[in-house]
Structures are given as C-alpha cells and as structure tokens.
C-alpha cells in the first residue's frame, strides 16, 4: 500500500515539485510582508526572511529527495539521456535494433522449434510416467493384441496400460459430400484414461465400446478435425459420419492441445481397436504366418504384431512392469519362433527383447529427421548472435570514439566516471530491450513459418511465444545489453580528459585494436557461415544430381487404397484396367503402371527370402519387396539390365517369376548370372518357388538421400499384396497435365480414394525440403553477416580517416599523391579482409573437429565453398573500405590546414 502510494507520488512528482516551489515562494513573500508590517525596510525584510528560511537550494534538494527515490531518479535520468542520445541518431539506432532483433528473434524461433520438436512433453498430466515399448534399435516395437491382453491381466500396479495402432488413412464421408482421406488410429478403450486425457466435449471410450467381436461404431475426433470439418460446434457430438462406408457416431472431441502420442503424425479419428476389421483398415503390422491370416482375427491373433504399448508407470513400478512385460511377450515370441523354419531366424527371434522406456515426449520419427537440422540451426543462430553482438559492439565503440571530445568535456567538468559508464550501460540495455521486443514479435511470426518449412507436419504441435520463451529472451537481452554497454563503458572509463581536450583523438588505449579484432571476428564468422552454406548446398546438389534410378520428369503419381473402398481382390484387375484406360484417353499419356508401394510413397514391404542353389549368400535380413504390373518400369522409366520384364502372360496360373535389383543380385550372387535362378519365401525349396527372370537397375525408392536398397519385384497377378500406387508417364510437362489426369482417373472409379497426386519431381523436392530450407537460411544469414562486417569495416576506416585527417593533409601538402593515400586506406581494408578470410577458413576447417560427427560428418569439405566464402569476406572488407579511401584521397590540405 505504502509502496503504491509512493509510486503514485513518483508519477505525479513533477507537478508536485512545482507546487512546492510555489509554496516556498509564497512562504518567503508572507515572511517579507510580516517584516514590512513590523516596520522594517523592504530590503531588510527580504534579508531577514531569507535568513529565517535558510538555504533555499538545500531545502529544494531536501524536498526533491523526500519526493522520490534518489537512486531511481538518477537511473531514470540516465535512461532519459540515453534514450535522447539514441533518438538523435535514428539510423544508427534503428540498424542496431534491427541487428539485435534478428539475433534475439532468431534465437527465439529456433528455441521454440527445438523445444517443441525435440523436448516438448506430451500434453497430458504427469508425462514423466508415460512409457513405451521399443525394440533394440530404439524404434517402437509393434506387439500382438494378445500380448497386450496378457500384460493387462498380469499387472496390478496403479496407473495403466493401453495400446494403439500406427496411423492409417480411411475415407471419410460427411453427409452427401465426396469422400476425403482422414487419418485414423485404432486404440484400446483404456487409451484416453491411461493418458489422463478427458474429452473436451462428449466422452472418450468405455469398456462397452469394444467387447471382443462386437466393437461399437463410435469414434473420438481431434480438436483440429472438429474445428475444421465439423464446424467447431459442440452439437456435432452424436453426429454420424461414414468411414470407409461404415456409419460411425462421433461420441467425443479430444482436448485442444492433444494430438496423440506422436508429434507430426496427428490423428483425426480415434476408433476402438476392434473397429479396424469392419472398416477393412490395416495399419502397419508385422506378420509371421503359418497359415491364413484374417483381418477380423487380428485382435486375437498372436502372430500379427500391430500395436504400440502405452504404459503409465508411477515412480517405483518400472521393475515390476518390466518383468510383467517380459512374461507377456514370451508366448508371442515362442509362437512366432515355432513358425520359423530357419534356425538362424529362430535364434535371432529368441534373442529379441523389447524394453520399456520412459517416453514423456511420446515417439516421433520427425525427431530423427529434425535432429541434424535443429543442431545446424542452433549453431547458425549462435553464430548470428555472435555476429550481431560483435557488430553492435563495434558500432557502439566507434560511436564512443567519435564522441570522445564531448565526453572529455563532461569529464573535465567533473562528471563521475561511474556515472558515465552507467550511461553507456543504460544505452546498451535500452538497445537490447528494444531489440528483444522486436525480436519477440519476429519470433512469434517466424516460428510457424520456419516450422512449416523445416518440419512440415509438426506445425500443430509447435508452442508459440510463451512465458518460458519470454523469460529466456529477456535474460538474453539483459546479457547482450550488459556486453554491449560494457565495451564502451570499459573504454569510456579510461578516457583521459586532458588528452582529449588537447585534440589527441586516438581514443583510449587499445580501443582501436579491440575494434579491429571485433571486425576481423565478424568477417571470420561470416566466412564460416558462407562456407557451411556452400558445403550444404554442394552436398544437396550432389544428392539431387545423383541418378535416382527412375525418371524425375514427366511422371505423375498418386496413391490409393483398395481395402478402404471395399474392392476385393477379384475385382481389382478390372478396376486397374479401367483406371489405365481412363488415363490413356489423354493423347500425351505414354504408359500407366501400378505398384504396391511405389517410389517415395512413404510405405514399404519386406519379405524374408531364401535363394536356392550353390554359391549364394543369403540376405541377413528381410529384403524389401515391391509388387508391380508389367507397365510399371516403362511408366517410371526404370532400366532393365538383363533378362525380361513381366508380361501379360505372367498370371496366376503360370510359373511364378520375379525380378531383382542390381544390388540384390550383387549381394546374393556375386558376379554370377542370376537369371534362371530360383528362390522361395520358405527355408525349403519346393514347387511354390519363384524364378528370377531379370535384373533391374538400382533405384532410390525410399528416399533420394539413402543408398538404393536391395529389392525384389513380383507381379501383381502372382503375389497377394494389393496395388496402391499409380504412375503415369506423359510426354511433356507432368505438372501441367496433372489436373486433367486426376479428374479423369477419379471419375473412372468414384468410390476409390486417391491421395498425394504429385509428380516424381515434387516427391523428390518434398524429401529435401528442410535441407533446402537449411541451405537458404544459412546462406541468407551468411550474406547478412558479411554485409554487417562490411559495414563494420566502413565505420572503422571512416573513423580512422577522421582522426588522421590532419596527418593526411600534411602528407598531401608536402607532395604525396592522392592515389597513395587512397592505396593506404584500401590496403588497410585489405588486411582486415585477409585476416577475416584466413580466420574464417581456419574456423571452418576446425569446426568439424570441435563439433564432432553430428554436423559435418556427411559433409565433405568443399574447396569451392571455402574459397568462395573467403573471397566474399575479402570482397566485403574491400567494399567497406572504398568510400573511406575516396574520402581520404579527396582531403583538401589547404582547407584543413587553414582551419587550424
């Protein structure tokens, strides 16, 4: 209360001071009146009154002190003075604030990105209790439904256990609108309860929703889906939509921040586990079978692993849970091992033991991809902050040097050095505070853009500007401000007034050398940034230029799902034929091919293969497997190296044939001819075996970044995997033809849902999107840093010319040619540039050693990039030196010497 009153008085103190001054004047006048009334002469009355009142100045000071907090007041004065002095040079101030805002805003954006992608815990109560089951490689371990049931019945700890499938796409129909793809996740009814997530509207699941064999057709939708597709209306709870044709009632809406257990893979619908069979949906699974596997039996079948385990373990329960988990997992492992023919596989299988690990952040495969990007960016931001600081410090130092005369006068008049230093500190803090405010706004706007650019898919989970971020940036601003204020304060405190006033303008000892070092440091850092950007760009270019094994141009692709449309195997060949005919109606279409997964489609199949005959080296693990139709290679422009492609005559009743990739051929057969050799999916040779009829060139089908995998191709007519990928080869521009193709193909089979109509080129671009963004960001920041360093050179040399103008004038007067003066200044710039460039090259060389393997391991040092970066640093320094040099050469000795 007292504090508030004091604060209130503090705010109104100017008017109060005026009031008191008026009172004191009146006081004196009354006193004089009294004296005159008692018979004194006016002059004597005034003297007496003044005597009685005492020292006016001291009184005034007493009043001022009583009115406010003296310390606060003098700080306020410093602040006002600093603000005024900054305001007087708007360009200087604005550029400094911009530089600092960039550093602080960049830090903010990257921090919130790294925090949300790598560090953010799940938005559930007590995320530290959440545990997941992972395989030995750290990837999530898929489990069979019976494994989960055994665990649930064995475990009696507090907390809970639940399971959830991987996401899969289903076709959504709302009212009579055309179907559209949505992402569904099948979960046990305990899923939401285990996570501790209540419904925002309606309810989550109850045990009644998933009685074995008769799941209820109900679903919980995500907040985002509810807002986007159901109009954000609480009355939408209870509405019925169609999923893959099946009417499903929406019984609840998940809370706003909850996007599931994995970031960047947000589900629209959560459905009871058992509902996957009526929906004919088949999320990722790993099956080891010794007989028919039926979708409807998946919730009971111990041979199909398709569920992720979610455990909530209160502290101290981990050991119990691990034991119970091992016991529940054992029967599944035994069951699967019993099916395996291969003794080696069986041994492998019995060694496999998934672990339960704390996963407060859930699991996201986005994280693996983002780790390198995130670390590169953190490094980048660190460099930008350093450059921004060095640059601002240089400019502030130069400003101090240009003010030495003023400061010298102030010192000579008795200003305290401490007070002077405090002024500089205040200036630094003001600048960095302004930078922090702008930077915070920048971060708020920039973060979603960066997220979209660098981690597409994670935007929903990115935390924006929050308290922690504001606190972090505020702390950073204070630190920056102290550093920025500290440099001029340090040198300012060492000013000698006599020297300054005697026109020795050299500035305090060491200040120039320090300024030069700052400039060289900036140049070196900018050279490093450009070198890193260059190396990244060269690497990306190399990746993109390497042959990927299929055509980049002129191929339109799309993905579809027969099962979700309810099209059974017998009807599929006719549907494919209809799609092909529809596409071929366009004269530009040259070939139409189908496959199960396709290149860069995101999915992959793999099968365990056993090659027959002598001299083969069996693959150590399952081999990637693609199921295709005869026109597929033609449509994708893939090269047959040997043998033949599939023919129409390779059908269900003819001998089974397969093609293998060059890499598989090399790994299995060495140099021997694989055509005519046989293999099977079982250990023992038999009539069911397949014959290799050809070898296909390697292709980077999973990602343009990784080495082409060993691959086997089988015909759609002979292997039971459904087609799900369409590739259309056209003459001319694929992107331009895509809409027409899309319309025709969709019209041919309205019930079939197509997703991701993309050209192959677009699929490739998507795959390197965040790398390209990283290159651009690094290069952008590098150029900016170079520009800043150039400005630093410009400022420093400009200052030098001013201080040395007298000496230069004397030299010119005694006959030196202006060209010589010009050369001298340019030479100075050249030296600065050379030191910066060499320092930068050295840093760029040492960086990989310091940073270890994570950043540059895959980056080969690029001489081109290094040389280019060094040249740009040198160039910037020279450019910055040109104007000061011209100014120096134009000095008119007569004017200057006459002025003396």
């Amino acid at each position: 209360m007292r504090f508030l009153r004091k604060l209130g008085h503090l705010l109104g103190r100017r008017s109060r001071l005026q009031r008191l001054e008026e009172e004191m004047r009146t006081h004196l006048e009354m006193s004089i009146d009294e004296g005159i009334r008692s018979g004194l002469a006016p002059a004597e009355a005034r003297r007496r009154a003044q005597l009685a009142f005492g020292n006016t100045l001291a009184t005034r000071e007493g009043v001022t002190d009583a009115l406010g907090w003296p310390v606060l007041e003098s700080i306020w004065q410093d602040l006002c003075q600093s603000a005024r002095s900054l305001y007087r040079r708007p360009l200087f101030t604005l550029s400094l604030v911009a530089v600092l805002a960039l550093g602080i805003g960049g830090t903010g954006s990257i921090t919130s990105l790294v925090r949300s992608v790598l560090l953010a815990p799940l938005p559930v109560p007590h995320p530290e209790e959440i545990h997941l089951a992972v395989a030995s490689d750290g990837e999530p371990q898929l489990l069979s439904a019976p494994t989960l049931q055994r665990l649930a019945s064995a475990v009696t700890f507090r907390g809970g256990i639940a399971g959830y499938s991987d996401n899969c796409r289903v076709a959504l129909g709302v009212d009579e609108q055309p179907v559209e793809p949505v992402v569904a996740q099948f979960v046990t009814v305990d899923f939401f309860r285990t996570l501790g997530v209540p419904a925002a509207y309606g309810r989550t699941f109850t045990a009644a929703d998933d009685r074995l064999g008769e799941p209820a057709a109900v679903g919980v939708v995500s907040w985002e889906f509810w807002r986007r597709r159901l109009g954000g209306d609480p009355a939408a709870v209870g509405r019925t939509v169609r999923l893959n044709g099946l009417p499903v009632a929406v019984v609840g809406v998940a809370p706003k921040r909850f996007c599931g257990v994995s970031l960047g893979d947000d589900a629209d619908f959560w459905l009871p586990l058992g509902l996957h069979a009526p929906l004919r949906a088949s999320p990722s699974h790993r099956t080891i079978s010794d007989g028919p596997v039926v979708l409807a039996e998946r919730v009971r079948d111990d041979r199909v692993a398709w569920l992720n385990l979610l455990l909530r373990l209160p502290a101290g329960c981990q050991a119990d849970a691990a034991g119970a988990f091992a016991a529940a997992w054992q029967p599944h492992r035994d069951r699967v091992a019993a099916i395996m023919h291969d003794p080696q596989d069986r041994a492998e299988c019995s060694k496999r033991a998934p672990r339960i690990v704390p996963s407060p952040q859930g699991y996201s495969n986005l994280r693996n991809g983002f780790r390198r990007t995130g670390l590169t960016l953190s490094l980048l931001v660190g460099a930008v902050v350093l450059v921004a600081t060095a640059n601002s410090a240089t400019l502030l130092l130069l400003r101090l040097l240009s003010r030495t005369r003023e400061l010298g006068v102030r010192l000579a008049l008795g200003a305290g050095r401490l007070r002077l230093a405090r002024g500089f500190m205040m200036e630094g803090l003001l600048l960095s505070a302004a930078g922090a405010v702008v930077g915070l706004l920048l971060a708020g706007g920039l973060t979603p853009l960066l997220a979209e650019w660098l981690v597409p898919g994670a935007v929903g989970g990115v935390v924006g500007v929050d308290g922690t971020l504001v606190g972090l940036l505020a702390a950073m601003a204070v630190l920056l401000g102290l550093v920025l204020g500290g440099v001029p304060a340090w040198f300012g405190a060492r000013l000698a007034p006599q020297a300054v006033l005697q026109r020795q303008l050299g500035g305090p000892r060491g200040s120039l050398r320090f300024g030069r070092a700052l400039i060289v440091f900036q140049l070196a850092l900018s050279v490093v940034l450009i070198a890193v950007a260059g190396a990244l760009a060269v690497d990306l270019r190399r990746t993109l230029q390497a042959s990927c094994g299929y055509a980049r141009e002129s191929v339109v692709t799309a993905q579809f799902n027969f099962a979700s449309a309810g099209i059974e195997a017998v009807r599929q060949p006719a549907v494919l034929e209809r799609l092909r005919t529809a596409a071929r109606e366009l004269p530009q279409v040259q070939a139409v091919g189908f496959a199960a997964c396709g290149p860069l489609g995101g999915g992959r199949l793999s099968s365990r293969l056993y090659f027959r005959g002598d001299g083969v080296r069996q693959p150590a693990d399952a081999t990637q497997h693609e199921n295709i139709d005869p026109e597929y290679f033609a449509a994708l422009g893939m090269t047959l190296l040997q043998g033949r492609v599939f023919e129409i005559t390779d059908n269900a009743s003819s001998p089974r044939v397969a093609l293998i990739s060059q890499r598989l051929s090399r790994e299995v057969f060495g140099g021997a001819d694989p055509v005519g050799r046989r293999f099977g999916f079982g250990v023992k040779a038999g009539a069911e075996d397949w014959e290799i009829v050809g070898v296909v060139a390697d292709a980077r089908v999973n990602s343009v970044r990784e080495e082409p995998p060993a691959l086997i191709y089988t015909p759609l007519t002979q292997w039971r995997q459904d087609a799900g990928f369409l590739a259309i080869r056209v003459a001319g521009d694929a992107a331009a033809l895509r809409p027409a193709l899309e319309a025709r193909v969709k019209a041919a089979e309205p019930g079939l849902l197509f997703v991701r109509w993309l050209t192959v080129q677009e699929r490739i671009e998507r795959g390197v999107r965040n790398e390209r963004a990283t290159v651009r960001l690094t290069a952008g920041f590098g150029l900016l840093a170079t520009l800043l360093a150039g400005i630093g050179v410009f400022g420093a040399l400009g200052y030098l010319i001013t201080t040395r103008s007298h000496a230069i004038a004397v030299r010119l007067a005694v006959g030196a040619a202006p060209g010589m003066v010009w050369r001298g200044v340019v030479c100075e710039a050249f030296w600065l540039g050379l030191c910066g460039a060499l320092g930068g090259v050295m840093l760029a060389w040492l960086l990989p050693l310091w940073m270890g393997a994570w950043l540059m391991a895959e980056l080969r040092p690029s001489w081109l990039a290094l040389g280019g970066a060094a040249a740009s640093g040198l160039f910037a320094a020279l450019l910055g030196g040109l104007r000061p040099a011209r100014r120096a050469a134009k000095i008119d000795p007569l004017v200057l010497l006459k002025a003396e």
């Binding site: 009354m30 006193s31 005492g54 001291a58």
Partner: protein, 112 residues
C-alpha cells in the same frame, strides 16, 4: 538574542511538532506552521523555516496530513495542510513515545 540560547531540534521531532500544531490549530499553510512553532517556543527554537517543506512532503506521503489550495488572510493563494485521522493516531503514538523517552532521559539524568 544570542545564538547560544536557541535550541536545536532533535532529529525526528519536527514531524511531531508539525502534527501537533496542525492538530491544535486546524488547517494551516507552511509559513503559518513555521511561525506557530517559533512563537510557541518563544523564538528559542533553531528552525530553518525551509526544512518544514521536506517534512510536509514526508507526512503527506505517509497519509498523516492532507492538503488543499486556499486563500491566506492577505489574499494570497496558499496550500493549507490539515491533519488526517491516521495522523491523529500517529500523533497519539508519537506523544506517548516522546513521553516515555522523556521520562527515561529524565530518570537517567536525575539518577546521575
């Protein structure tokens, strides 16, 4: 009158005197308060009249006195101070305190 006969005010007692004066006489301007203190002491107190103003600021900040503009007997615009309820309570406390101190000092002096 020679300087020796005048008493210097004890630290902190000025506030007490101002409060007491206002409690006794009602609203007064600064000059009035100063003169009143001098008169009561028979002009024996060594008071720089100016020092009254910081004291007024302090007392007003504490909420013990309030002020408003008014017109003096000579038709001058002046600020008139008056004691508040909180000020009266404070005055009572300070008087009691003063009496305790006085009694203590007297007791010590008498014993000496």
């Amino acid at each position: 009158m020679s300087r020796d006969q005048r008493t210097e005010l004890l630290q902190g007692t000025l506030d007490l005197l101002v409060l007491k004066t206002l409690a006794a006489l009602g609203a007064l301007h600064g000059f009035g308060i100063a003169r009143r203190i001098e008169q009561i002491s028979g002009d024996t107190v060594l008071l720089n009249q100016g020092t009254i103003y910081p004291a007024l600021v302090r007392l007003e900040d504490q909420g013990w006195i309030a002020s408003e503009w008014g017109v003096s007997e000579n038709n001058r615009r002046a600020r008139f101070y008056s004691i508040t309820a909180a000020g009266r309570k404070q005055l009572k406390d300070e008087v009691a305190n003063w009496e305790r101190v006085e009694a203590l000092v007297n007791a010590v002096l008498a014993a000496g």
